[in-house]
């Protein structure tokens, strides 16, 4: 029988064995024990797989490890932000100020950083995005509803343990053409932006450092997470909590 509890027929079995000649699926052994024809088909598939395995095993050249750069705090993946917003501005005036800062932040990232181009471009994209949603950065003790949160951090993205902090803002945004959760949690020194990017991989942590803000883009599985708070915010203490709270679906 297969997973659904039905007896496997010959057609089902042949489709399954061609997809998985190791026969790790349920119900296969029972079917083949009673079906000589499928037993022969299985043997045929296993011979085919042996040839496939040999054909795929091409010769491998000698291992050449590239020149590896030293890893340190002052390595290439630090993005300096010469211009960023002042902390604790949550009035409408902030919107106009932020628009003015947005361009400066992008230019700062593009020219101040000298790390891998993809990481730098992602950092610029992240900062430009945060600057375009300044209304998200409000000091509050009101959290978003469970429904709003689960609409944004949905099953196609993954899960996030809400104990990471009071989530005061949650919306779906586009970064590099992909829809991602844009969240704000309340940190010790004001709002902290979290961008969960399951498809944006960075080669190593990208530090975002400026006069009034600090942050980081952390590699996480096959993606990355941006954490951006006020200058005084102890981002390092948040890093582990956030990374442990987030699990990608893909």
């Amino acid at each position: 029988m297969n997973v659904s509890g039905k007896i496997m027929n010959c057609e089902d079995y042949r489709v399954a064995i061609a997809a998985d000649p190791s026969e790790s699926f349920e119900g296969g052994a029972a079917h083949v024990a009673a079906c000589e024809s499928c037993n022969a088909y299985r043997a045929e598939m296993r011979v085919l797989d042996e040839v496939i395995g040999k054909a795929l095993a091409i010769d491998v050249p000698e291992l050449k490890i590239p020149d590896l750069p030293p890893i340190g705090e002052d390595d290439e993946n630090v993005v300096n932000l010469p211009f960023r917003r002042a902390s604790k501005i949550s009035t409408p005036a902030w919107i106009g100020i932020a628009a003015g800062f947005a361009l400066a932040a992008i230019i700062g990232v593009q020219f101040a950083g000298n790390g891998p181009a993809n990481d730098q471009l992602l950092a610029a994209e992240v900062l430009a995005h945060v600057d375009h949603e300044p209304w998200a950065l409000t000091v509050t003790d009101v959290s978003v509803s469970e429904e709003q949160f689960s609409n944004v951090v949905n099953s196609t993205i993954g899960t996030m343990d809400r104990n990471v902090g009071l989530v005061s803002y949650a919306t779906s945004c586009i970064i590099n053409g992909m829809t991602i959760p844009h969240l704000v949690i309340q940190g010790e020194h004001g709002p902290v932006t979290l961008l969960l990017m399951p498809n944006e991989m960075v080669s190593s942590p990208v530090s975002l450092s400026g006069e009034s803000v600090n942050g980081v883009i952390l590699p996480h599985g096959n993606g990355s997470i941006a954490i951006i708070g006020q200058r005084e915010e102890r981002i390092q203490e948040l890093e582990q909590r956030v990374v442990e709270a987030v699990e990608w679906s893909i």
Partner: protein, 171 residues
């Protein structure tokens, strides 16, 4: 622990992981791009990225999937940069021809050519299952598709290869 000691341990960990998995990384890259020369470049870039983000790898037991993911992304980046056209099997570069000409066994040669002609979408899950020993779930995670789609592709891949090889044998 001094900084030098930490650096040394980091380097030793990297070398250990890479030496064990190098063959898998190269073969995966070669079958992704179907060109040994490009595969070497892709693997070199992938190793560099892996070195820089080694701290993100929490356990060495997860190194294989982690490195294969990096190779996969590097391969995509390479083709994005170069915007290479689809390879036509009738106009192969010497490097590509060498990949197909490695074996003198006619059965293997036919199969290798059939694999070479197979659509990327079908070839990749097959490489991951047969060469890398990945489960359906692991392939689905790596390729970002559903498990059902993986099984469908694997089934179609084998049927296609079976037909191609039979056609060659009959010719």
């Amino acid at each position: 622990m001094s900084s030098n000691n930490a650096d040394l341990k980091r380097r030793q960990r990297f070398d250990r992981v890479v030496s064990v998995l190098h063959k898998d990384l190269y073969r995966y890259a070669a079958w992704l791009c179907r060109d040994p020369g490009i595969a070497e470049e892709v693997v070199q870039e992938a190793l560099l990225r892996a070195w820089k983000s080694l701290d993100a790898l929490r356990e060495d037991s997860a190194a294989k999937s982690w490195l294969l993911t990096i190779v996969r992304r590097e391969n995509a980046r390479y083709f994005e940069r170069k915007r290479l056209e689809t390879v036509d099997i009738d106009s192969l570069t010497p490097s590509q021809s060498a990949m197909l000409a490695e074996t003198e066994d006619p059965n293997l040669a036919d199969m290798r050519e059939a694999l070479y002609r197979l659509d990327d979408d079908y070839r990749e899950p097959l490489v991951l299952q047969v060469l890398m020993g990945h489960s359906t779930k692991e392939i689905a995670e790596l390729m970002g598709i559903k498990a059902g789609a993986v099984l469908t592709r694997l089934h179609r891949a084998r049927i296609k290869l079976k037909e191609e090889v039979a056609k060659e044998a009959a010719a």
